[in-house]
């Protein structure tokens, strides 16, 4: 079996997006086999990882039970820092979700074909991140069973309505819309692949489950024309949606009068940061999935290189926003504003601020070098440091702005409690558990989309025999 002779120059500039699959059937096999293997054939490393992450879910459940039983006081929030880790983690997780929508919607509109092997997992990541994020405001209320008070439903126990002049209610609309739209988008993309799994199903359970989930999809040309149009519309409306969600989250801060929060740069700055952290998180997950499930053929170095370029760009935008903030604080002439920013860099939380500057601005500059962008270890480490940095960004914005109030008598210092810490670790466990279950039981790569790209680019099947028809 000889590999097809390809122009080496073309290969260097535009390497194939799908490697190692000889034809369409081979591609279907490769992607479906992960889902279809019997449970006992799943690699041991998968079960060990799942056991670790799901025990963290138990930790989360314990922490939330403790919080509900005892009260929100078990978190370290108090005067003057009334928004501590709870909101930090909320903004952090919502931000993580943004890369998924960016990859699935914005890159789709820009016709970036390389997104096809990563968009499914990025979308799933969005869903799980938003689920996890939602827990924090829900439990910060202290009475999660009253959560419907947040929504404009007529209720007889309170007899009042929401105040639509408050950005907090805008946030309820933004986040719940974001979750719903992401779910619909993800499921729509999944249907043709579920149909593939249904057609390949050998056991009764799989036939029934995938038969129902695939809605009777048969790939008819009459289905596809609606489907393609719908996909385009969903991508089109998700694009402004994703930009609006983090803008609205930033309004929670920007519309207040707290120095350090009250700035107009917040919406674009938050969106850039969200995309930055989200891409880093996709990178972490993909590198792990690529390694544990052997997806090197489908998630190639080219994909990773492209993502690293986006990380570099958004990281630099975030760095620019930091500089602007400092400049505007000085330029405003407002003593409180100036004090807040000096305090941010050199005050009691200097360690958090400098972790954030190093992780978000300085370290990603390594990605100017192609050697760094294509080195798996480098990108794994940077993807982790970026997320540490972005978590610190939210922590710094929230805590440094609140910790020194206008009057020195109301100054304070926020220290997280063990419940804060365990809850956050628990949410990481929940996020990873959901992702691991998804990677094992649903097709992680959008088969129909990869095939569509494959049909347009004849040279994608790198392992193809010379002279044979392009897919057989």
């Amino acid at each position: 079996m000889s590999a097809v002779v390809q122009d080496p120059q073309l290969m260097a500039v535009n390497p194939p997006l799908v490697q190692g699959a000889r034809d369409l059937h081979d591609l279907t096999d490769q992607i479906s086999s992960v889902v279809e293997d019997p449970v006992y054939k799943t690699p041991l490393k998968y079960w060990i990882t799942l056991a670790c992450t799901s025990s963290l879910v138990l930790l989360l459940a314990a922490m939330l039970t403790y919080l509900v039983n005892t009260g929100v006081g078990v978190w370290g929030v108090n005067k003057p820092v009334g928004w501590g880790w709870g909101i930090t983690n909320f903004v952090f997780w919502i931000g993580i979700g943004h890369a998924g929508t960016l990859i699935s919607a914005i890159l789709f509109l820009f016709r970036q074909k390389w997104r096809t092997s990563i968009n499914r997992s990025a979308e799933a990541m969005t869903l799980f991140a938003v689920m996890v994020a939602g827990l924090f405001p829900l439990f910060h209320t202290g009475r999660p069973w009253r959560a419907y008070w947040l929504f404009p439903v007529p209720n007889t126990d309170l007899n009042i309505w929401q105040n639509f002049r408050s950005p907090l209610i805008w946030d309820v609309f933004a986040v719940s819309t974001y979750f719903t739209v992401s779910l619909l988008f993800w499921f729509t993309g999944l249907v043709p692949d579920l149909a593939t799994l249904r057609d390949r199903a050998t056991t009764k359970i799989r036939q029934v489950v995938f038969g129902i989930l695939s809605l009777g999809w048969r790939g008819s040309a009459r289905h596809w024309r609606h489907y393609e149009q719908a996909y385009l519309i969903l991508a089109g409306i998700s694009t402004p949606l994703v930009l609006s969600v983090h803008s609205v989250v930033s309004f929670d801060f920007a519309t207040s009068v707290i120095p350090g929060w009250h700035t107009t740069i917040f919406p674009p700055y938050f969106v850039a940061g969200a995309i930055f952290s989200g891409f880093a998180c996709v990178m972490t997950l993909l590198l792990i999935a690529r390694w544990t499930l052997n997806l090197q053929n489908l998630i190639t170095i080219k994909h990773l290189d492209n993502m690293n370029k986006i990380i570099l760009v958004t990281g630099s935008v975030v760095g620019y926003a930091y500089c602007t903030e400092f400049f505007v604080a000085w330029w405003s002439g407002d003593i409180y504003e100036r004090f807040t920013f000096l305090n941010r860099a050199f005050g009691p939380y200097w360690w958090a601020a400098w972790s954030m500057y190093s992780c978000n601005v300085f370290i990603p500059q390594l990605y100017w070098f192609k050697k760094m962008r294509t080195n798996l270890w480098v990108m794994f480490v940077i993807s982790i440091t970026t997320n540490i940095g972005m978590w610190f960004e939210r922590f710094v914005i929230i805590c440094t702005s609140l910790t020194r109030d206008f009057l020195p008598t109301s100054w304070g210092y926020f220290v997280p409690t063990w419940v804060d810490i365990c809850t956050f670790i628990g949410t990481i466990g929940m996020f990873l558990t959901l992702f691991l279950l998804f990677a094992r039981f649903l097709p992680m790569i959008a088969m129909s989309e990869v095939k569509g790209v494959a049909s347009q680019e004849k040279h994608v099947f790198a392992g193809q025999e010379e002279g044979s028809p392009s897919y057989r």
């Binding site: 279907t28 404009p152 105040n163 809605l215 048969r218 489907y227």
Partner: protein, 197 residues
């Protein structure tokens, strides 16, 4: 329509309505290995005068709509209506809550103003459009459904894998099982079969 409670008769009636049954013919189907061949064959078979055509493919094949004469999807117009419904819902809700049912003066701000209603209005417009898109995608395609006669074709399961199927439905005025099967073979289809409903 006759009223009956006998399930067997009911099923037979439903099957009859859907055009399903042992004695019914659904279509003549054939397969291709390449999307380009399918499009070429689609043009050819339409040139022979067939109108009730369909294709089954693992991914959207470009040019197949023109080849088979399948009209452009109208989904966009329905979604515009969904978006307008979302905008109206939000504006009416915010006005009703703020001005009529629960007027509350906070910081001297107006009870209703267009500017602060923009974020929720935008979100509801997006939400309603997305839900409309989602429902319409399936409803206009006649989904969800548990059974379709095309499943009786020998390689129907490969339409979601690596084969491109061409369908000439039996309700085509020019349809004749023998003749159509011959036509299908003449445009290059493999495994041509008369598929029962």
């Amino acid at each position: 329509m006759s009223q009956t409670s006998d399930p067997a008769v009911l099923i037979a009636q439903i099957k009859d309505k859907l055009g399903i049954g042992e004695d019914k013919v659904y279509a003549v189907m054939g397969e291709f290995a390449e999307p380009e061949d399918l499009v070429k064959a689609g043009h050819a078979i339409r040139g022979m005068g067939y109108t009730k055509l369909d294709a089954m493919t693992p991914f959207p094949v470009h040019g197949i709509d023109e080849a088979l004469g399948i009209p452009y999807s109208k989904i966009g117009w329905i979604v515009v209506c969904g978006a307008i419904a979302g905008i109206l819902t939000a504006q009416i809700l915010i006005y009703y809550v703020g001005v009529i049912d629960y007027p509350l003066i906070i910081g001297g701000k107006p009870l209703f103003d267009f500017t602060y209603s923009i974020p929720p209005t935008f979100e509801l417009a997006v939400l309603f459009s997305a839900i409309t898109t989602f429902i319409c995608t399936w409803a206009l395609s006649g989904l969800p459904r548990l059974y379709h006669p095309s499943m009786n074709y020998r390689s129907a399961h490969r339409a979601s894998d690596d084969r491109f199927l061409l369908v000439v439905e039996a309700n085509d005025p020019k349809f004749d099982a023998q003749k159509t099967a011959q036509d299908m073979r003449s445009v290059g289809a493999n495994d041509v079969e008369v598929v029962e409903g």
